[in-house]
């Protein structure tokens, strides 16, 4: 009897494991949607960007570094997401932490980034944002509130993830 039971449990367990496809990770809602801290950072061309410049738009703010493997892994999908979301009015900003243009510029030959790369060279801005590790990405709604967070890399052109970002446009 015990053996039969074990056989049934094992069979059900195996079928369960085989059919439960791992779902790609999405975004974590931030409780209370706190206001995002403003920043004023230069991009690779020296042009300054304030977060408040983009009030009224959805902004995706990604904190990254060239030496961070999951950052490198997600960059191509971020670029693909940018090619779609740019036309819909979404802004994307890649805030590099602690590195200079001399390091980032050659890196971008291998990992093109078509949206603005901002330089937080002294790491001041990342300390003011609720970041615990790299990469961390926030989605800021048109009112300047931190609505979603992604800790670790994501597939940014996943239609379900794009749907969450687009959902903020419609509000």
């Amino acid at each position: 009897m015990l053996l039969r039971l074990l056989l049934i449990i094992t069979f059900v367990g195996t079928v369960g494991m085989a059919t439960a496809e791992p779902k790609p990770a999405l975004l974590t809602p931030l409780p209370g949607a706190p206001l995002a801290r403003n920043f004023d950072l230069p991009d690779m061309d020296g042009k300054r960007h304030k977060l408040s410049d983009y009030r009224g738009r959805v902004v995706i703010v990604n904190f990254w570094a060239t030496w961070c493997p999951p950052c490198r892994k997600e960059l191509p999908s971020m670029n693909r997401a940018w090619s779609r979301l740019q036309k819909e009015g979404v802004m994307m900003l890649a805030v590099n932490v602690g590195e200079s243009e001399d390091v980032i510029f050659p890196f971008m030959a291998d990992y093109p980034i078509d949206f603005p790369v901002l330089l937080d060279q002294d790491g001041e801005i990342i300390q003011r944002w609720p970041v615990r590790g790299l990469p961390t990405t926030f989605v800021v709604d048109p009112d300047g509130r931190l609505v979603y967070q992604a800790l670790g890399g994501r597939e940014w052109d996943d239609p379900r993830l794009l749907g969450l970002v687009r959902g903020l446009l419609k509000q």
């Binding site: 015990l2 053996l3 094992t10 779902k23 974590t28 570094a65 790491g123 590790g133 670790g152 994501r154």
Partner: protein, 193 residues
């Protein structure tokens, strides 16, 4: 086969899943350990002292400090919450609760804050290099929410290259504190490639 034999056959895979999975990368020879229980997943990967030395030298560490870190048993560490639904509990990890058992003693890890405080005082490591250290090491305290949160970073075990130790890991799944001893973790040898 006797009933006892069948029982063993069915129980063995379950025991393997609950344990730690040790792998050797055939290309590099580096060893990694993967442990998961519930939605908590931890992976520890050896780093050669030379890898660590090169990483920190390239980020502005003075050679003496890069070398010092390199021979302190640095591992790449990945923590993941594999919970799939929004209702799954968050997982909180505080490295201050972890312990190392080596040479008959049990002691805590030396965390990034202790290293940073030392360099702040001595000024032995310039501020830009400290930024790279801060963000390339695993946060001491972190909450991982379900549906995809993970983080990775180096952890430092303060042991000579080639040391063998047991690691006591603690995590909190919601309100439940859980812990496990991971036995036989090996610091990478200081071999030069």
């Amino acid at each position: 086969m006797r009933p006892g034999g069948w029982l063993l056959l069915f129980l063995l895979p379950a025991l393997a899943v609950a344990g730690i999975d040790r792998r050797v990368d055939p290309r590099t020879g580096l060893v990694s350990w993967k442990y998961d229980r519930g939605a908590f997943e931890l992976e520890i990967v050896q780093r050669l002292p030379d890898q660590t030395r090169a990483f920190f030298l390239a980020r502005g560490f003075p050679p003496a400090e890069a070398d010092r870190l390199a021979v302190h048993c640095v591992m790449q560490t990945i923590v993941r919450n594999t919970g799939r639904s929004g209702e799954a509990p968050p997982i909180r990890v505080n490295l201050r609760e972890w312990r190392i058992r080596h040479g008959g003693t049990i002691r805590p890890l030396r965390h990034k804050e202790a290293w940073l405080a030392e360099w702040e005082k001595s000024d032995a490591v310039p501020p830009p290099a400290r930024i790279a250290f801060r963000w390339s090491t695993l946060p001491t305290v972190q909450v991982y929410t379900p549906r995809g949160d993970y983080n990775w970073g180096m952890t430092i075990y303060d042991l000579p290259p080639g040391s063998l130790f047991d690691l006591y890991v603690v995590w909190h799944a919601g309100k439940h504190r859980q812990a496990a001893w991971l036995r036989g973790i090996e610091c990478a040898p200081d071999r030069h490639e």
